[in-house]
Amino acid sequence: MNFAALKDLDRELARFRRRIRIGAVFVGLLALLLLARAYYLQIVRHDHYVERAESNRISLVPTAPNRGLIYDRHGRILAENYSAYTLEVTRERTHDLEATLAEVGKLIEITPGQLRRFRRLLAESHEFETVPLKSKLTDEEVAVLAANRYRLPGIEVKARLFRNYQAGPGMAHVVGYIGRINDRDLKNLRESGRDSNYKGSVHIGKTGLEQSYETLLHGRTGFDQMETDASGRAVRMLSRVSPVPGKDLRLHLDRELQAVAEHAFGDYLGGLVALDPDTGGVLALVSRPGFDPNLFIDGIDPETWKSLNESPDRPMVNRALRGIYPPGSTIKPLMALAGLELGLRKPADAFLDPGYYSLPNSRHRFRDWKPQGHGVVDLRRSISQSCDVYYYRLAVDMGIDRMHDYLAKFGLGEKTGIDLDNESSGLLPSREWKQRRWKKTWYPGETVIAGIGQGYHLTTPVQLAVMTAMLANGGRRIEPRLVAAVRDPVTHFWQPLAPALRGQIAIDPANLAVVREGMLDVTRPGGTASASAAGAPYTIAGKTGTAQVVGIKQGARYDASKLARQHRDHALFIAYAPADKPTIAIAVMVENGGSGSGTAAPIARAVFDYYLTGKRPGDMKPEATDGTD
């Protein structure tokens, strides 16, 4: 090694050491960068990441409360819960939905109806949502599915609470039904700020009491705070807020009375409302035909829905609340009372009924239902004979404005405030209404027919029931109530609900007594409904009515036998009993029933009989013993 080479090596070594230092600086700078990053994550953004880590690991699992039960006045169950296994499918987790469905179909029976319903629900829900395929699995089905679960991804068997309406179609319009929460329900819940309480819930009340008492029946959702791992599996429970079950409801309604009323309708369609005139408690509320509410709970299959919805009998319409019909002669007692109260008539004022009435300077004849006329008629007879001419004349003397104002006091043309949703307010005509609605002036002839409850008049059975109850209770304006008491799920104490009163109308007792006598005459020999009251061990005060479905031409006669059934008149009957100390007031409407005395009054009689004496129609099955508690 020569000197030059050594010197060269020294220079090399110096350069190497310089480069080592450069390397050290390079390393130091990058290490600082790493620590700066760690500082940013662990110190600057610490709170943010703590929060992210917490939300990673903690999940709130809602636990749905048990829905409140519904009982009739004697504690018979109307809506109950039961636990059962259900087969549910999460589309997102199935590899091939069709193959999975086919596979399931080989293991257990899936009916075409269940499959249709499943497909409809599937179409309405998101990929990740769980949709029921079959409910109420048998133990064998559960076992078969459990054994094959490993090859059926996305398929789950879950224990769930189900709702059952064992009272069947007869109670469908009262109790209603629950159904799966849909987008519209969700929107409503969100707008009313209740959506968080439905986190664990699948169902919500859709109609009837299930809808109107939803808040009480649902209860409060509980939450389990769970620690979960990355795969979403719960590792342990951190805390629990228990759900509060919904409140139970006890109705004024008597399930057996309802069944008797149902039975009395026979094949007829229509509506019936029976009230306790004292409290407004609804003793029976019938809308015929009914439907099976159980079909709706987990979604109805499209074809059944179509057949229900498109049936000419319109079983989904609650006729007691939403059926609007001309009240016909059933408003005559109220008209008579108005005449007395307004000083237009004295009880003894009598008029000759020649069978028709004509306005002054008019040749148009408003005919009486009895072509030859009723002869000389005073107020009581006008009610018991249902004399039209008497009321044509009274209406003209009263005028439409005073008529409107007086009838309105009895709740006509206005919602009764019953504790069910979607009640119709009917129509109580007035000059002002016609101007507003039709931009037309009121004609005197319209006043004439309004006097016998025809023309523009439209009422619902529940309105007529309230009107009847007010005649029975002396003018106390009650609001019909189905629910009598509410049970707290924690204390198990039944809290009675106070009757709802809208006030008291001042009526001269003497005037009311005359009208009530007239209504009693209706069921006495010679009255229009005497046949239906024959042999009753109590007294009935009532009024028959007939509402025209098709107009009868001048000079033509109504002949029921010549008309198709759907064109026959609607039959109406209002009544209360016992007449001296009424405990039940009723309004019956029989669609195309012909005459009030012929079809509607016998139904009321059957209801009275059962309610007042416990007598059941002879051809009716004895009371079912199940479901009583």
């Binding site: 480069r19 080592i20 390393v27 290490a31 990053r37 662990q42 110190i43 992210r52 990673n56 620690e227």
Partner: protein, 366 residues
């Protein structure tokens, strides 16, 4: 050396005490973290201990081999490695979409792992041989020796390993005295060619880079690793959640948490204080390595010591950078921390070489 010393004691004389202490400290931390990250899995802990035992034994063995002998195995090791890489290209087994493995029946083997030591050894041997007569052509030859395995590994494709091996080769050239104008020129050229390189990257590689820029774009896919590991580190805070108390770790939110993402577990459970300590330990290892390099009597020793030190840091930086979300996700373990036998053996062999260089200072002066 006293004759009374036993055989084992004589072997241990060749260990550098500072380096040994630092390595043992890091391995101790690793054992703690892997224990926590594996959910105290006995299999994992035993495996880790066995790996450590084997790797430490090999380290002691290598430390006892004088550097001039070590330098001699450079060329055959390099040649073997390159031949195996060609073998991989021709007969290799495809795993996870790339051809990286050779299956020898009893064991599968990634030849690229071999090159991590073979390439520096080869280049150091080469520069040692031409120490006195270094010319530009020697750098060209060295560059070619670097590019051959680099290209073969890049083809597998394994961009991460190719870059790491490329870096080790570059460090060696740098310490051997590669002129600055070449370094800067090459850097500029590399920067200019980035768009072209981007074009040749595989889809998954492009995605990894894009994911780094915005991990939230694909939170359940590519971004998941980065999001979860940054949450783990960030939620650790100043002092951490405590050993075995990290929720991200214990509840399975951190993927690959005993191997590549072990730093996320560490950061979550030991916090910023822990991170500073860990980085300090690595810096101490590197500083010791650079000191050894500076004192090394031979060109081979100097180049090997300096290159291995910087190489170690590169692994640390790339891994921590990836786990804390400033570098793309590449499969690089954290040196001396991650579970895994191969990388531990490679690293401790490197430590053995460092120790050999440190303790054979006077003995092999030619």
């Amino acid at each position: 050396m006293a004759r009374t010393d036993g055989w084992l004691m004589r072997r241990l004389r060749h260990l550098d005490p500072i380096l040994l202490l630092l390595v043992l400290a890091l391995l101790g931390i690793s054992l703690a973290v892997v224990t926590s990250a594996s959910g105290q899995s006995p299999a994992r802990i035993t495996g880790h201990l066995v790996n450590m035992g084997i790797a430490l034994t090999l380290m002691v063995a290598v430390a006892n081999v004088p550097p001039h002998l070590l330098s001699k195995i450079g060329p055959p090791l390099y040649a073997t490695g390159v031949v195996l890489l060609v073998g991989v290209a021709l007969f290799g087994e495809i795993r996870n979409g790339s051809r990286r493995w050779l299956d020898f029946g009893v064991m599968a083997f990634q030849p690229s792992e071999l090159l991590k030591l073979a390439l520096p050894l080869m280049l150091a041997w080469y520069f040692q041989r031409n120490e006195a007569v270094l010319r530009a052509k020697h750098f060209l030859v060295a560059g070619a020796l670097l590019l051959v395995p680099f290209a073969l590994i890049l083809r597998q494709p394994d961009l991460g390993t190719a870059l790491m091996i490329g870096a080790s080769g570059f460090y060696l050239l740098f310490f051997a005295g590669l002129p600055w104008k070449v370094i800067l020129g090459g850097g500029a050229l590399a920067a200019a060619s980035l768009p072209v390189v981007w074009h040749f990257l595989h889809d998954y590689q492009q995605r990894r880079v894009l994911t780094l820029l915005d991990p939230t774009a694909d939170p359940l896919g590519d971004g998941y690793h980065i999001i979860q590991s940054t949450i783990a580190i960030g939620s650790g805070g100043l002092f951490g959640k405590g050993w075995m108390a990290g929720t991200q770790n214990q509840l399975d939110f951190i993927p690959e948490r005993t191997t590549d993402f072990v730093f996320a577990v560490f950061g979550e459970e030991f916090g910023y204080v822990g991170a500073i300590l860990l980085v300090a330990l690595y810096l101490a290892v590197i500083a010791r390595g650079l000191v050894i390099a500076g004192r090394a009597p031979t060109q081979f020793g100097r180049l090997m010591a300096a290159t291995l030190s910087l190489n170690l840091f590169t692994y640390v930086f790339v891994n921590m950078g990836m786990v804390s979300g400033i570098l793309p996700v590449v499969g690089v373990p954290l040196p001396l921390m991650s579970y895994g036998g191969t990388s531990l053996v490679t690293l401790l062999l490197g430590m053995g070489i460092l120790m050999s260089v440190a303790t054979h200072r006077q003995l092999n002066k030619t």
